[in-house]
Assembly symmetry: C2
Homo-oligomer: 235 residues x 2
Amino acid sequence: MHYQLYYWTGLQGRGEFVRLALEDAGADYTDVARVEGDEVMNTFLDGSADGARPFAPPFLKAGRTVVAQVAAILHFLGPQLQLVPESEARRLQALQLQMTIADLVAEVHDTHHPIASMQYYEDQKDAARQRAKDLRENRLPKFLGYFEQVLQHAGGNHILREHSYVDLSLFQLVSGLEYMFPKRMATLATDITGLKALQQRVAQRPRIAAYLASERRVAFNTNGIFRHYPELDAA
Amino acid sequence: MHYQLYYWTGLQGRGEFVRLALEDAGADYTDVARVEGDEVMNTFLDGSADGARPFAPPFLKAGRTVVAQVAAILHFLGPQLQLVPESEARRLQALQLQMTIADLVAEVHDTHHPIASMQYYEDQKDAARQRAKDLRENRLPKFLGYFEQVLQHAGGNHILREHSYVDLSLFQLVSGLEYMFPKRMATLATDITGLKALQQRVAQRPRIAAYLASERRVAFNTNGIFRHYPELDAA
């Protein structure tokens, strides 16, 4: 199967969670907008392309299937790429965990855009500063503590006891948060030793290591979801 | 199958999307916290109960399965309650649409809590007023316009061409928004005639009509996700 991934160029964003799965599996895929430009997504987003209309990128085309929403894309890809346990119960657990990652990613986005996603960060800095404090002090410990506990409960090596797309997304989540909040993540490190070790193991998987060293891996930057604004970070 | 739904008492909240599916299907279920109190959820949330630990309510127990996240719960229940088309492709589309509903619900929540979910609304009113303006003027037309177009593209009667849990959730979404933003939803009504008609049809389904008239349907209130604060509404 040849996969076509559609996502904005120039940033990792939500597309990166899908990209990591495709890369880890050595899948045959095209990152379409990087070849043809962002406007290639327009016919999907305005509903004039065949298939289910996506609300927003990322979306994936595989044969006649068009699927949007990161957690739905990974739920679809998981069995095809052998990146999820086979049983329906475990597949459901993977879906639920991925949705919880998506919830935190949405909160991370709203930390630099607490008022309006279409306005500049600079125009909502005061609210962002307040929201960042809550994220750092309350939400990050709650979410990361949850993932850490589920990981430890599963034996500590893989959150689903075997390698899965959820492990790859946890790598991305921890890496993104470390870029965005270096001070805060340093103080949280002792509470998430399992996640930190998982992050290292994922980074060393041969295909992931090759991908991270390639030009395909765009660096974290302040156009993405994880944005480093020093004024939003604190230990 | 006997289902046990776990959700906070005293509000509709995210649990209502699951409740509507169980009620529409005439499923055998217990709304456990309403019988035993909210503290019955603690052993699940702290990880000491058997099964996958949920991050937050609602979660559903069905035999040995414990599943959290509204869209994952409905993805699980859909085939069992005959509330989703049978093909994998349509089931995936239902999942994707439900996740997009969940995204809007999260934005609705953050409209009255733009800074910190654990602080009072009264302590973040200024930011709430700004965010509500963006939701009313930009986000609601974008999300509701999307659902309207997908519905019309599917023929106008059902968003998946046949009755599904997504229709039930769209009923809840439009109803909640009408409670929260009566002025804004009145001006948007002409742009979402398909969704409005769908809302009426769902309300008239015999089991839903009986449920809405029962004491099991808690009224919308300012403890839920959809909250009516007059200062956040405008035409």
